[in-house]
């Protein structure tokens, strides 16, 4: 029995004598942890030693138990202290050591981009949604009725000419004079009014087509149509809606001016100009009070309902906002262009 006792005492003596050196010699956290494990880990010397405690004679157990615990606690205390010291040293080294080369290229997650036209379109949609308007759309190829007749264009109106409007070929290969690529998003007005009862407030962004192709015209471009129909809607409301919308769009209170103009489906009709504080007047688009003939065509009572409509070019707004010099650049899809905004 005394062998066991002796072995235990010797072992404990040895651990007690060496642990400081073992733990203090570790230069970093992993080696400290490894050293610690050699002492008090599952296979550590002290751990193994303690498994021998049951063979120690009963009268010495209490005494040696207390001593063992004291060593164990001392090891833990030293380990914790060393750990803290190493962490502090590492922190200190990082904070005072060599700096990063911040000029190395970044590793980019590289998000993509929305097209500038889409960005403007979404901005417009957000503003109008916040004002209580719904977003609507409609087909890009539509009927002559929806594009012209129901909007009050007289038959054979110059705008309906083959010169200005793309018509499609019918199944027989001949021109179908009743089916065309919509020349404006005002078709959305007709479609919305035809399927819904007033009151209604909608805006319709979309692609439109005209037979124009030169330095400043693209045969395909984008418009946004707006329509509000209710009882007692006045031109003052139209001006107010435009003022609020344009102010929100530009992010500051803008001045709005209506100038008389002519569109068959509104009367009185106007051009909308806007001016930012200290800026120049900009042409925004066309607008006016919905013409009674339009209401008659969609089955609304023009004596009961009044409304306003407006339309504006999205491409032009994108060009102004993003400094695009040429409308064609919007449709060339040059990746350098697409990644710029």
């Amino acid at each position: 029995m005394s062998d066991a006792l002796k072995a235990f005492e010797d072992g404990l003596d040895e651990v007690e004598a060496s642990y400081r050196e073992v733990l203090s010699g570790a230069a970093d956290e992993p080696s400290l942890r490894a050293a610690n494990a050699k002492l008090v880990g599952p296979e550590g010397r002290l751990t193994k030693l303690l498994k021998l405690m049951k063979s120690v004679p009963g009268d010495r157990r209490k005494d040696l138990g207390q001593r063992s615990n004291a060593v164990k606690n001392a090891i833990k205390e030293l380990f914790d202290g060393q750990l803290e010291a190493l962490a502090a040293a590492a922190r200190e080294a990082e904070l005072t050591g060599p700096a990063l080369d911040v000029t190395l290229p970044g590793r980019r997650p590289l998000p993509g981009r929305l097209h500038p036209i889409t960005r403007i379109k979404h901005e417009l949609m957000d503003v109008f949604t916040s004002l209580g308007f719904d977003i609507a759309d409609g087909p890009e190829i539509d009927t002559h009725e929806n594009c012209f007749d129901k909007l009050g264009f007289p038959p054979d109106h110059p705008a309906t000419d083959m010169q200005d409007t793309f018509f499609v070929k019918g199944a027989d290969g001949n021109v179908d004079p009743r089916t065309l690529l919509r020349t404006h998003t005002s078709t959305i007005q007709i479609r919305e009014m035809s399927r819904r009862e007033p009151p209604l407030a909608v805006v319709g962004p979309g692609v439109v087509y005209r037979r124009d192709d030169d330095a400043t015209h693209s045969p395909m471009f984008h418009q946004l149509e707006g329509l509000l129909v209710d009882e007692n809607v006045s031109m003052a409301d139209l001006q107010g809606a435009l003022q609020v919308f344009l102010s929100r769009l530009f992010g500051e209170v803008v001045e709005v001016r209506l100038r008389p103009s002519y569109f068959p489906f509104v009367e009185p009709g106007a051009e909308v100009d806007a001016r930012r504080p200290g800026g120049e007047w900009m042409e925004i688009g066309g607008c006016g009070m919905v013409h009674p003939v339009v209401f008659e065509h969609v089955g609304y009572d023009p004596e009961k309902w009044t409304g306003f409509a407006f339309g504006m070019g999205i491409d032009r707004m994108a060009m102004v906002k993003y400094g695009v010099p040429n409308i064609k650049a919007l449709f060339e899809n040059d990746v350098r262009f697409l990644s710029s905004f």
């Binding site: 190829i141 087509y209 899809n333």
Partner: protein, 815 residues
């Protein structure tokens, strides 16, 4: 439309500056888009020709001795129309700065011409920038010419401003000066008094026109040369030589006309038809309006009838075309173009002047059918004033007599289909105020409408009733009057109110919001949005192996844009090709747009589709560079669709996508629905787009099907989050190369039973130590028990089943 400031000033008596006048016109809807000015250059004076002698060396030059008020000098001149001694011309002295089209002035300096010095230049109107006068120098008339030395600014009424008015089609009355002048007077509140020449007595003779029309015919007899050119605008260019008229008044008119860009004297009066009565025909048949040949007939053409128009084309007519005929047959396509037989020539001495109103729709149809858009049709199809016909006829004859030195004959014919009935319109004051949003002062409506030429029928507290003026075909109902009152009273009176918007219960359709979300997700995932033209060429669609049953344009601008696209591929490939040619490292593109398919019904089917296209190389400054491949595309697809809570499944093969590589193609499914295809582009398709050897990854998704899948799946629901830890075990194996990794993973998951949470591939290897026809796959299997902490024993048991299944069911060799 161009309008002369001086002329408007004369007609209205309003002395405002050109800028103010332009602002006022713009404010009532006659938008002045530009003001052109013709200032008189300095150092240009009137000079008298004293002598002319041939140039000693050059045939085409002459030496002209000029007296400029202070001295005589000999000038070299190449103009053909230098007047005889005594004639007066405009002379640019040394140092005169003449305007040029380029902007920088042309400064007169001493130059050697034909071997001798020349100090100054005899000028034409266009050289002086004061008109668009024809060939040759400007020569003053024989009488009343200013004395030599008079500066140009004093010698001629130059310095006019010309307004470029963007006229809207509802205002045909403003195609002449009278309309804009009348609006100006209404704005300024001054009376408008247009010149009213005495109308000749009209005899109602001739056949009544078959459709709504009115035609009057008068005659002028030329005393000297008659200064007219052909009438219909489409004719052979410059027309006849114009005579320089004598008096200042005529000169002024000519100059105004030229500055407006009009080509001849009569362009301001397109309703006129000057007829050739060459060869003395009219005289032979009695010039005084008495013989039976002076019939006027307006009739519809008969099928197969032809008419040679002024432009020299022989036109086949239809029974829808209206003709003006004299005793011998048709002389004009009514309101569109005159007949070649009515052209005025140098020798013309007698002119029949026809003034007419035609039904705008009839003119529009003929103009459209013949493709003739002339100055005449432009006016007639917008509507001229039917009641003005006799007065305009008289005015034309008067001017012709004054300017051409001729005599207007006293009688005229007039045929009217139906007298114009002015619409009677009532304007309700409450309606006016309600529509404009402010209380219009009581006196305004009647005052404005009267100023615009309406006749007041009645007025009380509730309403104003008027008849519309015959020159305003755009006024037919109440709202037209409301616009007139608003326009002249001023839109600036309209206040700004905040509209009441009653929001709908349903809001924006989910389909529309979905398209927006898709775009935003695609951009967030790292793709760049393209917007391409919707029209493409059939050749591009063939190259893209896209459907060729297309919606074709009847009147495309070019073959390149002649059919509506049936695929987004041509646009995206073009963008990628452009990017690679410009040495961009890669192109990561998407487009969300519609493709079109014929349906047999009137409207084609428009299908929104989402196209994803990847090309080029990926890699940064750390990590290997490599060409974008199929798995990049799959990753992007997952990234684009993931925010909706659904993960797409790819099934090998896409039989309906012939544009894809036969061995690198997949059908994309979402929540069990087929939503599109994805794969590498077929190398022959890449070749067809001149991208030989480039691998392009392309996914084509049906947005409607995507939307349906997301709608069916509903909103992602919060999952029960695991409370107990997971245990992972790896398994590596050799399997046949043809075995899909997805199938292996599914088998492993099934074999592992309920404890398997996930089976994820983490390594794929072919090559050394792997036999030919086999591949090495390594999976990490995640085990978890939702109800408690797993013991090693349970995991070992489950994993043993997984390993066993790999060997027995998949023929794998475990490693």
């Amino acid at each position: 439309m161009r309008a002369s400031y001086e002329w408007l000033k004369e007609l209205t008596g309003i002395g405002a500056s050109p800028e103010e006048m332009a602002e006022k016109l713009t404010a009532v809807g006659l938008e002045v888009e530009a003001i052109h000015r013709f200032p008189a250059p300095e150092k240009v004076v009137v000079a008298e020709v004293r002598a002319i002698r041939p140039h000693p060396k050059r045939d085409k030059l002459r030496l002209v001795t000029l007296f400029d008020g202070s001295a005589e000098d000999e000038i070299v001149c190449g103009a053909p129309n230098v007047p005889d001694p005594g004639g007066r011309v405009l002379f640019a002295q040394l140092g005169a700065a003449l305007p040029t089209e380029e902007g920088a002035p042309f400064v007169i300096s001493e130059r050697a011409i034909g071997g001798g010095p020349s100090r100054g230049m005899i000028c034409s109107e266009s050289e002086l920038g004061i008109g668009a006068g024809g060939e040759g120098i400007f020569v003053f008339g024989a009488t009343n010419a200013p004395t030599p030395g008079t500066p140009l600014a004093d010698a001629l009424p130059v310095g006019d401003a010309v307004f470029e008015i963007g006229l809207t089609p509802n205002r045909p009355d403003c195609l002449g000066h009278l309309g804009s002048a009348r609006d100006l007077c209404a704005i300024y509140g001054v009376p408008f008094a247009p010149p009213t020449p005495p109308a000749p007595p009209l005899r109602a003779e001739g056949a009544v026109p078959p459709s709504d029309a009115r035609v009057a015919l008068g005659w002028a007899e030329g005393g000297r040369e008659v200064a007219l050119e052909d009438d219909a605008g489409g004719g052979g260019g410059g027309g006849g030589e114009r005579r320089r008229a004598g008096g200042g008044r005529e000169r002024r008119r000519q100059r105004r006309e030229r500055r407006r860009g009009a080509r001849g004297l009569w362009r301001g009066r397109r309703v006129l038809h000057g007829r050739r009565v060459g060869g003395g025909r009219l005289r032979e048949r009695g010039a005084r309006g008495e013989s039976e040949e002076e019939r006027e007939e307006v009739r519809l053409a008969t099928a197969g009838e032809t008419l040679e128009t002024l432009d020299g084309e022989t036109r086949e007519l239809t029974p829808d075309d209206l003709l003006i005929c004299d005793g011998e047959g048709p002389v004009a396509l009514a309101g569109v173009m005159g007949g070649a037989n009515s052209e005025i020539e140098d020798a013309t001495r007698h002119v029949a002047i026809e003034c007419a109103y035609f039904d705008p729709r009839s003119v529009r149809r003929t103009s459209r059918r013949t493709g003739l858009h002339t100055d005449a049709s432009h006016r007639f199809e917008r509507g001229v004033d039917p009641n003005a016909v006799p007065a305009v006829l008289a005015r034309a004859a008067q001017l012709m007599a004054e300017l051409g030195g001729g005599v207007a004959l006293a009688e005229a014919l007039d045929v009217v289909a139906q007298p114009h009935e002015a619409p009677r319109i009532t304007l309700r004051r409450d309606r006016l105020d309600a529509l404009l949003g402010y209380a219009v002062p009581k006196d305004v409506p009647a005052r404005v409408l009267a100023a615009l030429g309406a006749t007041l029928v009645s007025e009380d507290d509730a309403a104003v009733t008027v008849t519309a003026p015959s020159w305003r075909p755009d006024l037919s109902r109440e709202v037209d009057l409301i616009e007139e009152v608003a326009r002249i009273h001023g839109y600036e009176h309209v206040p700004t109110a905040v509209p009441r918007v009653r929001p709908s219960a349903t809001g924006t359709a989910p389909r529309i919001r979905f398209e927006r979300a898709l775009r935003e997700q695609a951009a967030a995932a790292g793709l760049f949005e393209a917007v391409s033209y919707s029209f493409v060429s059939p050749a591009e669609l063939r190259a893209a192996r896209a459907p060729l049953d297309t919606v074709a344009l009847a009147n495309p601008l070019s073959e390149e844009r002649s059919v509506m696209r049936t695929s987004l591929l041509p646009g995206l490939v073009a963008a990628a090709r452009q990017a690679l040619r410009r040495q961009a490292p890669e192109a990561l593109l998407f487009e969300l747009g519609r493709v079109f398919a014929p349906t047999g019904d009137r409207l084609p089917e428009e299908q929104p589709r989402l196209g994803l296209l990847l090309a080029g190389r990926t890699g940064g400054w750390i990590g290997a560079e490599r060409e974008r491949d199929f798995y990049d595309l799959k990753g992007f697809l997952e990234a684009v669709l993931a925010p909706g809570g659904l993960v797409p499944t790819l099934k090998a093969g896409a039989p309906d996508a012939p544009w894809l590589h036969p061995k690198r193609q997949a059908t994309v499914q979402l929540a069990g629905r087929v939503v599109g295809t994805a794969g590498e582009l077929h190398p022959e398709v890449a070749d067809a787009f001149e991208l030989e050897g480039v691998r392009l990854q392309y996914a084509d998704l049906d947005v409607t099907a995507l939307f349906a899948a997301f709608e069916a799946a509903g909103v992602p629901q919060a999952p029960a989050l695991a409370r107990f830890p997971a245990v992972t075990r790896d398994v590596a194996m050799l399997v046949d190369d043809g075995l899909e990794a997805g199938a292996v993973a599914a088998s492993l998951a099934e074999a592992g039973g309920a404890l398997v949470e996930d089976v994820a591939l983490f390594d794929l290897y072919r090559g050394d130590n792997v036999p030919e026809g086999r591949k090495s796959l390594a999976f990490r299997v995640t085990y978890r028990d939702a109800d408690g902490t797993l013991t090693d024993k349970r995991v070992d048991k489950a994993h043993a089943k997984v390993r066993k299944a790999a060997e027995s069911a998949l023929g794998a060799t475990l490693r």
